[in-house]
Amino acid sequence: MIKVKKFFIYAMLIIISIISVFPLYWMMAASTNTSFDVIRGKLIPGTYLMENIKNLLASNNLKGALWNSFRYASIQTIVSLIICSLAGYGFEVYHDKHKDRLMTVLLSAMMVPFVAIMIPLFRMFSSAGLLNTAIGFMLPTLATPLLIMLFRQSARSFPRDIIEAARLEGLSEIQIFFRMFIPSMKSTYAAAMTITFMNAWNNYLWPKVIMTTDDSITMPMLVANLKEGYVTDYGMLMVAVLLCTIPTAIIFFLLQKSFAEGITGAVK
């Protein structure tokens, strides 16, 4: 009975995994084929990978785009995590009526389509001289209501006696946050890190408005460039798309280990 159940669970997971991974496989296979083979729907890996990579390197600022994307996304992730977890912790641990209301108000900031606030933002950034800069890329999405709420919700399961004990030991409020909260919330930070990195890495609408030089382009912009001509080289495009997907996947794979540790560190 238990064995049958186990078999059923594994079978389900394997099927779901295959469905999930299929497009990635398709991308990988496509990146090794000629453009015509890709368009014809060939699913078996070919031998054209090096050629596609060579074409991509020759015609585009690939290194620049990768480095820009990596740089923007990493800095954004780290700064964003600190700012938002501070706020989320603050909202929950020191919660009162005012802060709960303020949280609801902040939430509304994510409910307007970005298109609507893009033009005023552009005017602001242009006059501040922040176009074509990393800071310009990051600032609008450094503090997001979603992340704040994520940390607020998970801080709810952070035991208050730890805070009390730490206060008795003479730790300041900020010390408690850095020494007690952060280490015990690894899984939440891991989730937040993955999500933030992915969003920053894939961010497209904003950079396409503020980046106006070839030097400042990001990976999604490079992919968009590749699709634009009258004739698209699909093999080359798929190499770029693959390079655009893999970093987030690797980050998740490395970080998901922290979901396996159960309750961690000093808590309980």
Partner: protein, 295 residues
């Protein structure tokens, strides 16, 4: 419940506000200030850069805009059908993948997470070709005799909407699973072991332990998905181009069109954006009233 035991000193209260300060300043400058600008814009009307004050004209106008009304219907259709399926599926997957005795967890988790990291370019290409008249789905249905002639899934309103729903479930289930997985770490595994000894089935402990303890996170994902669906853009643009006609178009897609594809009418776009804000806001407040209780 701890609040009453320890009276918050003024100092602590001040510390509390200091924690919020950086985020609040950033959101005010980067979101609320431009939103205020957009609100002013929503009371103006005109082509491109030449705008005139028009009062509530934009707001009254959109209710006789058939395309906008259609797109609003579509968004709610996606919301009502897709979000519950996706969240329940994500919860089930998260709790299965949290089992101590499961092997290859890391691989399964990464595989299921992958869709949301997969570039839009490749996934939309694949979905469109899967559902095309000579695509895999039609081939299977024809071979098994379920269909007599190929069905144009993207050419009919209802089936086009379901293609979008299937694509959304495929893409975002793993994303939501990540939040649940993270939150599950804060539940002591011994609770499950105790329940097992008491004779509870896996199904019982899922509904009686996992779901209640994950309530704060479920609320988070619910608000997030509601917001995401009402602002849905990518799938409408890339999978169906809103078609056939505008029968599967979303509100954000239409707003984008009125700003950048059509003769730009930024006042009208802004007004429609604020309608989205109000819709999401109302739903979120209801959800918070029901789900955001500290007990």
């Amino acid at each position: 419940m701890f609040k009453n035991k320890i009276p918050l000193s003024v100092k602590q209260n001040r510390a509390g506000w200091m924690f919020l300060l950086p985020a609040v300043i950033l959101i005010t400058v980067m979101n609320f200030y431009p939103m205020f600008n957009a609100l002013l814009l929503s009371f103006q009307s005109g082509k491109g850069a030449s705008l005139e004050y028009a009062g509530l004209y934009n707001y009254t106008r959109m209710f006789s805009d058939k395309v906008f009304m259609q797109s609003m219907f579509n968004c709610f259709f996606y919301l009502v059908i897709q979000v519950p399926i996706m969240l329940v599926l994500a919860l089930i997957l998260a709790s299965v993948l949290n089992r101590k005795d499961l092997r290859f967890k890391g691989l399964f988790r990464t595989a299921i997470f992958l869709p949301c990291a997969t570039s839009l370019v490749s996934y939309s290409t694949i979905f469109r070709s899967l559902f095309s008249t000579d695509g895999l789905i039609n081939t299977v249905l024809l071979k098994t005799g379920i269909l007599q002639t190929a069905y144009d899934f993207l050419g009919h309103p209802m089936s086009a909407r379901f293609v979008i729903i299937i694509a959304l479930i495929w893409r975002w289930t793993g994303y939501n699973m990540v939040f649940y997985l993270a939150a599950l770490q804060n539940i002591d595994y011994s609770v499950y072991e105790a329940a097992k000894i008491d004779g509870a089935s896996a199904w019982d402990s899922f509904w009686k332990i996992t779901v209640p303890l994950l309530k704060p996170t479920i609320l988070l994902t619910l608000i997030m998905s509601t917001n995401g669906t009402l602002q849905l853009f990518d799938e409408s643009v890339n999978l169906t181009s809103g078609g056939p006609g505008s029968m599967s178009m979303t509100m954000s897609h239409y707003i984008y069109d009125t700003s950048f594809r059509f003769v730009p009418n930024f006042g009208y776009s802004a007004a429609m954006s604020f309608v989205i804000l109000v819709l999401v806001m109302v739903l979120a407040i209801i959800q918070m009233k029901v789900g955001d209780k500290r007990d």
